[in-house]
């Protein structure tokens, strides 16, 4: 009796690789039928009537011609490079039936080593975004490219003749081809300049290297070579410069084994808890101003530099004492050449001190590469400051803006707005109508990464390519193509890049090969090419007597730290619903930005989570809800940038609508509030720290959509059982010292045989036995896996209201626990997905056999059989089951193209959960069968595992003694959650080891 309750997957006979219109056509057929079934399936009687008759006629439309090497329904991966941020990670684009569906990390890539962050994973939903601009606009009205070209060229011609200034503003774009085209384009004018603006810039690092090494560069940090890492506010595992690259590298030194009980030492100084801070061995709670003080004293102690003038003593710095300084200096000394000090301060002095320390420790050339530098941040605050002045003066005749939204991402927007009005020509390349685009004369929306050819040069010695995997869905162009066209070349981007590569890249390639075609094909296929770049030497010259900038630091008020969220690095991602809903790895809040404040600060102000406060400084006022975050410095508040973007009002109706539903954002208001007005200029440096901010309680509330309500493994004191004050057994942890003494340290004392069985072992697994192992020491909690899972498994976006009601749909979540005092916060993160228990409590209770065990040890969920009693979810000790409370929105034909046809889209009223990517296992099985063998190690990579930047997740066959997971299962760090209950989970964890002295941090209390 197959009535068809499940929602349509967008597939059918393959719609064809060539045209999207065919695919859309196909899905329209499906849509009709779905609507039909929705109407019909509603009442039992109607279902019975319709089901007993013929279904409506459907057509199966084959292609007219079979394209070469086209396999309908097969996932094919194409190499590309991510442009979610300038880091340039390697990407494998999974394409099916002509639709790019799943972004995966490229394992061979030298930077990302197979990892990919949440932003990269979320590319597909941005590609199919129905609100993306379809074609160019002229004065806000849709226009043809011809008329745009004509108008722009006309204006540019006039400017060329008048000698007016032309300014091109972009974010960091490492494309060598684009650089060439830009210089050709700007070369046409007497005064043409390219201004690079990074929303979160590393300008001060470049400036400091200019002063100490004579080159304005950003070094390439090699965390894989660092045995001692000291970070001052640099969230290098979460948001800083190239987090995936750094996480992959950082991991190399973080996995102690029985044979080699070694790991790097990581000290972290920060005012607000970050992903990186939560993974540090020692985390010190300091203000951003304290970085300079500590660095100066450290530099002095290491003999790198004398104390700068007016340097306060170390006593003023919060929890960091002189004793700590001594220990830290000793550690650094011992690890000369294998240590790394990094700092995210915008204080030039601090960065100069960092350089001096790294130089003194002999780290340059080892853990920092300055001769093969990073190009991942090229923004210069000074150039931006000049541009803004020029705009104000009316010097700029033509302003072309890509990537950044000048009016949104920068402070003093009214000044910029006035300046923009003075420009003869303003062109925006934004793909949504952002604030700059709204005032631009022409909007030339850029094609999505997956629709276009791109190349990248993220670090010295590496260039990468990115090929399109679908034709542009709208009439869009790339920046490259526009600029080429406006400088007289009508070539398309592929030709431009290919020509440039032939001219400039191939001659420098380590393996140029004889045949240019083969070289190109190879580059396209592999996605990157290593090139020889003559090292650009940069010698150190100690800076003169450093002087602490006399920053006016009012004693009153708070310091506000403006930061970028892990899931929302730039405002151009604001239209991405996956990223908007992604719970922040640190705060677990989705959908909003907020003021982070410490518990004592909140108490002082008399506010709690969700209370709206008004931040005001000078004439800037900002109202935001409060989030109370342990580990926050008492005088520092944190607010995320890249929120309040125009156009995000569209998310008002993102969730289900019903009687008591509340819209995700109040009608007509964007998601979150723009905090950019709090940025401020200190000379020519754009400061992300604002002092002297006063806070006022407004008395209003905006509840935050938090996915985790209780944040500690420590139980509430008033109700904790005697002798069991915490649940640290769930996320076990030990110290390196204890680990060396006893590799099993941290294991709770359990007096129960976990394999004790009341009944005969009736279900031996004779074939495969799938298992998953998560190394909690490697896991940073960055949440890339959460989006990977969402993309792979068609997990709906449910909106603020549903998340607030604890009804988020993620199949895997990152639990984050914080315990301990503010100055010694113990943060543990743990990815939790279905544990696939062999003795699954969920299975026995399902009345209709909708969830049963497979012969390979998977806990299967047959959605179409589920009647939705939710008993299984209640009985799940790990609470990993997710119920479809409503029919979630799948009403956009275009956005439905992002759905994975391998996974059913669940209807309302059914339970769902992690399937251990069984669709991938089944696909691998068929392929293996073709070769007449069983599935081998490496044939299957589950979605979360595949993209984990820290490679924390291992999937494999526990029955195969040679598989990696069986090897690791013998590791003494391995444990299973709630093992004493005998659930016999197939998902294991590996204990956290902190490089600390002292004993294990577990309290064995179970009997």
């Amino acid at each position: 009796m197959n009535d068809k309750p499940d929602r349509t997957r967008v597939t059918g006979e393959p719609p064809g690789a060539e045209t999207v219109s065919a695919a859309a056509h196909d899905s329209r057929w499906q849509f009709d039928r779905r609507r039909f079934l929705e109407a019909a399936g509603f009442s039992l009687s109607l279902t019975a009537v319709t089901a007993c008759t013929r279904r409506p006629v459907q057509h199966a439309m084959p292609l007219g011609e079979m394209p070469d090497s086209f396999a309908p329904g097969k996932l094919v991966s194409y190499a590309a490079t991510c442009n979610g941020c300038p880091a340039g990670c390697g990407l494998l684009v999974g394409v099916r039936d002509g639709r790019p569906l799943k972004m995966e990390g490229m394992p061979e890539h030298p930077l990302s080593r197979g990892g990919l962050c949440a932003v990269g994973q979320a590319l597909p939903i941005a590609l199919y975004d129905r609100h993306r601009l379809d074609g160019p606009l002229r004065r806000g009205k849709p226009a043809q490219w011809e008329s745009i070209d004509r108008a722009v060229l006309q204006e540019l011609q006039a400017i060329r003749e008048s000698g007016g200034a032309v300014r091109l503003v972009t974010g960091t774009r490492t494309s060598p081809t684009l650089a060439a085209i830009i210089s050709a384009f700007l070369g046409q004018f007497k005064d043409g300049k390219h201004v690079v603006v990074d929303p979160v810039s590393c300008s001060s690092i470049r400036a400091a290297h200019h002063s100490t090494h004579g080159a304005s560069r950003l070094p390439r940090y090699r965390f894989d070579r660092a045995a001692v890492i000291v970070s001052f506010g640099a969230d290098f595992l979460g948001t800083w410069i190239s987090p995936v690259e750094y996480a992959a590298a950082w991991r190399q030194q973080r996995i102690p084994t029985v044979e080699q009980p070694q790991m790097s030492y990581h000290a972290h100084f920060e005012p607000q808890l970050t992903v990186t801070g939560s993974k540090a061995d020692r985390r010190y709670r300091v203000t951003p101003q304290d970085y300079t003080t500590i660095l100066a004293h450290l530099a002095k102690r290491l003999g790198a530099l004398p104390l700068p003038k007016n340097m306060p003593s170390l006593d003023s710095v919060g929890s960091f004492t002189a004793g700590d300084l001594k220990t830290l200096a000793r550690r650094l000394q011992r690890a000369k050449g294998a240590s790394l000090v990094v700092c995210d301060s915008q204080d030039l002095v601090a960065q100069q001190l960092v350089n001096a320390i790294n130089e003194q420790l002999g780290n340059y050339g080892k853990t920092l590469e300055l001769d093969r530098p990073s190009f991942q941040r090229q923004g210069e605050d000074a150039a931006l400051a000049d541009l803004l002045d020029e705009l104000e003066e009316g010097v700029v005749a033509a302003l072309l803006v890509a990537d950044v939204d000048l009016l949104h991402d920068l402070p003093e927007s009214s000044r910029i707005r006035k300046g923009l009005k003075k420009a003869q020509l303003v062109v925006s390349f934004a793909d949504h109508l952002n604030e700059t685009a709204r005032v631009a004369h022409c909007v030339c929306p850029e094609s999505h990464l997956l629709e276009s050819w791109n190349d990248f040069h993220p670090v010295g010695g590496l260039v990468s390519l990115s090929q399109p995997t679908i034709r542009p869905l709208g009439k869009t162009r790339t920046l490259l193509e526009c600029l080429a066209r406006w400088s007289g070349s009508a070539s398309d981007d592929r030709t431009l890049i290919r020509q440039h590569w032939e001219k400039a890249i191939r001659p420098r390639a380590t393996d140029p090969g004889a045949d240019p075609v083969a070289f190109w094909d190879n580059a396209v296929q592999l996605g990157f090419v290593e090139i020889e770049e003559s090292p650009q030497p940069a010698g150190y010259s100690a800076p003169g007597q450093l002087e602490l900038a006399s920053v006016s630091r009012p004693d009153e008020g708070y310091t506000v730290l403006l930061y970028a969220k892990t899931g929302m690095p730039e405002s151009r991602h604001a239209h991405n619903p996956w990223l908007q809903e992604l719970p922040d790895p640190v705060t677990k809040v989705s959908w909003d930005n907020y003021v982070c404040m410490g518990p004592s600060t909140a108490e002082e102000l008399g506010v709690g989570e969700g209370d709206i406060v008004e931040l005001s400084v000078d004439d800037v006022k900002l109202e935001l809800p409060v989030y109370v975050l342990p580990g926050q410095h008492d005088r520092v508040l944190g607010v995320a940038l890249a929120y309040g973007c125009p156009g995000t009002e569209r998310f008002a109706q993102v969730g289900p609508s019903w009687l008591e539903a509340r819209p995700t954002v109040p009608n007509g208001r964007p998601v979150g509030r723009n905090a950019a007005p709090l940025l401020n200029w200190q000379g020519k440096s754009l400061q992300r720290v604002r002092h002297g901010v006063s806070v006022r309680k407004t008395g209003r509330r905006r509840p935050l959509a938090v996915t985790q309500l209780y944040h500690s493994l420590k139980l509430p004191e008033s109700i904790a059982a005697y002798g069991a004050p915490d649940r640290s057994d769930i996320v076990q942890s030990t110290t390196l010292e204890a680990f060396r003494a006893d590799p099993e340290s941290g294991k709770p004392e359990v007096h129960v045989d976990a394999n004790l069985d009341l009944w005969p072992p009736d279900h031996p697994k004779s074939g495969h036995a799938w298992g998953l192992l998560v190394d909690l020491n490697a896991c940073t909690g960055c949440s890339a896996c959460v989006i990977a899972c969402q993309s792979e498994n068609n997990i709906p976006v449910v909106g603020w209201d549903e998340v607030r009601r604890q009804r988020e749909m993620y199949w895997m979540r990152i639990d984050r626990y914080m315990q301990g005092e503010d100055d010694d916060l113990d943060v543990r993160v743990q990815p939790v997905m279905c544990q696939h228990c062999d003795h699954a409590p969920c299975e026995t209770v399902c009345p209709v056999l909708a969830t049963v065990h497979s012969e390979e040890g998977l806990n299967q969920q047959a959605y179409n059989r589920c009647v939705g009693t939710r008993y299984c979810a209640n009985n799940c000790p790990f609470k990993v089951r997710r119920f479809n409370w409503f029919n979630y929105r799948h009403d956009s034909d275009r956005e439905n193209l992002a759905l994975n046809p391998d996974v059913v889209v669940r209807t309302r009223g059914v339970m769902e959960k992690c399937s251990m990517c069984v669709q991938r296992i089944e696909a691998a099985r068929v392929e293996a069968k073709k070769e007449g063998r069983a599935i081998a190690e490496g044939d299957v990579q589950v979605a979360c595992q595949q993209s984990c930047p820290a490679q924390a997740i291992v999937f494999g066959d526990l029955n195969d003694p040679k598989s990696r997971i069986s090897q690791l299962a013998k590791d003494p760090r391995q444990y299973r959650m709630l093992e004493e209950y005998g659930f016999q989970t197939n998902v294991g964890y590996r204990r956290i080891v902190r490089n600390r002295e002292g004993g294990a941090e577990s309290t064995g209390h179970h009997s």
Partner: protein, 217 residues
């Protein structure tokens, strides 16, 4: 008297009710079961002729069956492999030749009515030359075999295990018009999976999973 009239009316009502039900019962099938569905197709393609009489292998046209989840409805260019040359039945061509010989002229090209539809879809004129005005249009075949969306059937797995096409699609080589031969119900699938685990497929031992996740995920 009145009672009799009422009784009579009720009896007649009952009779007609039963009659309607009985007539409906012939059409009745369990919900979702489309067994015997034989819709009219845009082109009256005969599997009997192609697969039966001419013994063309199934995978000659359904090319994807052994390497994809979908068997693949043949693209028009596959038809054109043969129908570039074969434009009408042999008898019709011979007729024209005879007629032409009788009338002492070059035989005109003969295009059968059904193949004309194919050529129209492909944008070809009577001489099988591409017409400029119309491009290649896909043929809107009416879908017959369709599993519910929550079932993932993989042709590749079955073809590679050696399952004959006829096992599920029936003796297609005898069908003039294609129809759904089997119920394609879950029980039908499962029973075959159970059976082949005992008997094997064409003498080869196989392991056909009867786990839910073999088809539902």
């Amino acid at each position: 008297m009145r009672e009799r009239v009422i009784t009579l009316a009720l009896l007649m009502g009952l009779f007609f009710g039963v009659l309607v039900l009985a007539m409906g019962a012939r059409e009745w099938r369990s919900p979702g079961n489309q067994q015997g569905y034989a819709p009219e197709q845009p082109i009256a393609f005969s599997h009997r002729l192609h697969a039966g009489e001419l013994s063309i292998d199934c995978q000659f046209c359904h090319v994807a069956a052994d390497n994809s989840r979908y068997a693949g409805i043949p693209t028009s260019d596959i038809c054109f492999k043969c129908h570039k040359f074969v434009t009408a039945s042999f008898a019709a061509v011979m007729d024209e030749r005879k007629k032409a010989a009788k009338e002492k002229r070059e035989p005109a090209p003969v295009v059968s009515a059904e193949l004309k539809k194919l050529y129209d879809m492909m944008g070809l004129d009577d001489q099988l030359k591409p017409q400029d005005s119309t491009g290649l249009k896909p043929i809107p075949w009416v879908r017959i075999h369709e599993l519910p969306d929550h079932v993932l059937f993989n042709h590749q797995a079955h073809v590679q295990a050696g399952v004959a096409c006829q096992r599920c699609h029936g003796p297609v080589e005898t069908f003039e018009r294609m129809y759904q031969y089997e119920t394609l119900s879950m029980g039908w699938c499962v029973n075959c999976h159970r059976e082949v685990n005992r008997t094997g497929v064409s003498g080869k031992a196989v392991h056909a999973s009867i786990d839910c996740a073999a088809c539902h995920y």
